[in-house]
């Protein structure tokens, strides 16, 4: 269990301590007292935030939503945590239904931030790339995103159009569409989506050529 002082947690979330205290006061997060400093466990806070998100996502401040996603993403990537994967899917599910705009915003901002960091500001990555060993994990993802970024807007537009069509037909015939797919079918579709050929990355020599 990771303990964070109130000060650290507030900084992490981009809130001042009063805002944080106010937020915590509305939930049921156990505090720990250690050498005169108030602390809260990371897990307890995340659980509190997730419950808040589920009960009414509109009351969860955006920094906390980012924090929540970051926490689960860390768990997912470091430990391949099944529960973290489920939670991320629950967050995406809920936002997809309730607020697709916010979901797209979240997706978009992660992309923007990533590109800003990797391509504009990261001298280290530029140095690595120029020295010919650009196959770090970060650059791999970066290349992948760079390719997909070009068509990202178009893809979102397609998804939106499809959703609108289904809604129009549903409203016209007063029928719920489309029918829900089963869990096993969903899993199959996931599996088929995941099987992708590996991307090829150019070294700086190839790029120069």
């Amino acid at each position: 269990m990771t303990l964070l002082t109130m000060l650290e947690l507030a900084e992490e979330l981009g809130l001042n301590q009063w805002e944080l205290a106010n937020l915590l006061g509305q939930g049921d997060v156990p505090y720990h007292h250690s050498l005169g400093t108030l602390s809260v466990s990371q897990e307890d806070f995340v659980e509190f935030a997730f419950e808040r998100f589920q009960s009414d996502y509109t009351t969860l401040p955006r920094p906390i939503l980012d924090h929540l996603i970051s926490f689960y993403a860390d768990r997912l990537t470091q430990d391949n945590d099944h529960q973290a994967r489920q939670r991320i899917q629950q967050i995406v599910d809920l936002l997809y239904e309730e607020d697709p705009g916010l979901l797209e915003q979240v997706l978009g901002e992660y992309d923007e931030l990533y590109h800003e960091l990797v391509y504009d500001n990261s001298e280290e990555l530029v140095r690595q790339k120029n020295s010919g060993w650009s196959v770090t994990e970060s650059v791999r993802y970066g290349e992948m995103l760079l390719v997909s970024k070009k068509n990202k807007g178009q893809y979102r537009n397609i998804t939106r159009q499809a959703r609108t069509m289904v809604k129009q037909v549903s409203d016209f015939f007063e029928v719920d569409l489309p029918e829900k797919i089963t869990t096993s079918k969903k899993r199959d579709v996931y599996a088929s989506i995941r099987v992708k050929p590996p991307l090829r990355y150019f070294t700086s020599e190839e790029e120069a050529a």
């Binding site: 990771t2 992490e12 990371q42 996603i69 970051s70 926490f71 993403a73 860390d74 997912l76 990537t77 994967r85 991320i88 899917q89 995406v92 599910d93 997809y96 979901l103 979240v106 997706l107 992660y110 992309d111 931030l113 990533y114 960091l117 990797v118 994990e137 970060s138 993802y141 970066g142 992948m144 995103l145 390719v147 997909s148 070009k150 068509n151 178009q154 893809y155 537009n157 397609i158 998804t159 159009q161 499809a162 069509m165 289904v166 129009q168 037909v169 549903s170 016209f172 015939f173 029928v175 569409l177 489309p178 029918e179 797919i181 969903k186 579709v189 996931y190 989506i193 995941r194 992708k196």
Partner: protein
Amino acid sequence: MSMTLKMRPQLVQEMRLEQRLRLRQMLAHDFMEFINIEDDGDQELLEESLPFLVLHEVSHPLHDAGYVTIPPLRPSRRLQEYMDVSVSQQALEVGIDKSALLIGQLVLQHSEQQMIQAQVALVERVYRDMFQLEVVPFHNKFLARLQAELAVQQERGLDRELYGRLTTLEKKIDEGVRQQLYRKNYGFHTDLIHAYQRVYRGTTVQLPKKSSHG
């Protein structure tokens, strides 16, 4: 604790998977092996064929709910010898394809030409994958369904470009099918096309009874 550079794109990937899963759920499953919704190179095709892909899929529950009437397949005597489950299954899909065309015009106010174009774009991909690249196995009943639909659609007063695109495609598919089938089976195939054409022509969509949509 904040997300590292490596983790952010992975999360984006996770979220995109979820979104694409949702999209895939809305698209015609019959055609999903011919289009890769993850491939940016396929986005243009996806966009062009989207009304057909979506409306085909929503036509299934509308058919179950009684809004779509598909006439029964009336096979010729020769065709009766070859009847099996997949022939009937494709007959149902013929009606569903027609339903997509009608609902596109009725509900979404697309022109008939737009709806036909949406389907032709997909059938061009079917031809490519089945005959040129040979990455999808030859499936004569599925092709008979598409040929039947193209044959009826070309009678519909299309503009010159789409008409040319459609007739060229129909001819190429017919040549491909002839090469694959023996003479006797080709006769059966022709009967099947005619039977499917009757289904396509006879399929109708009913408006909701209490609707004020006119």
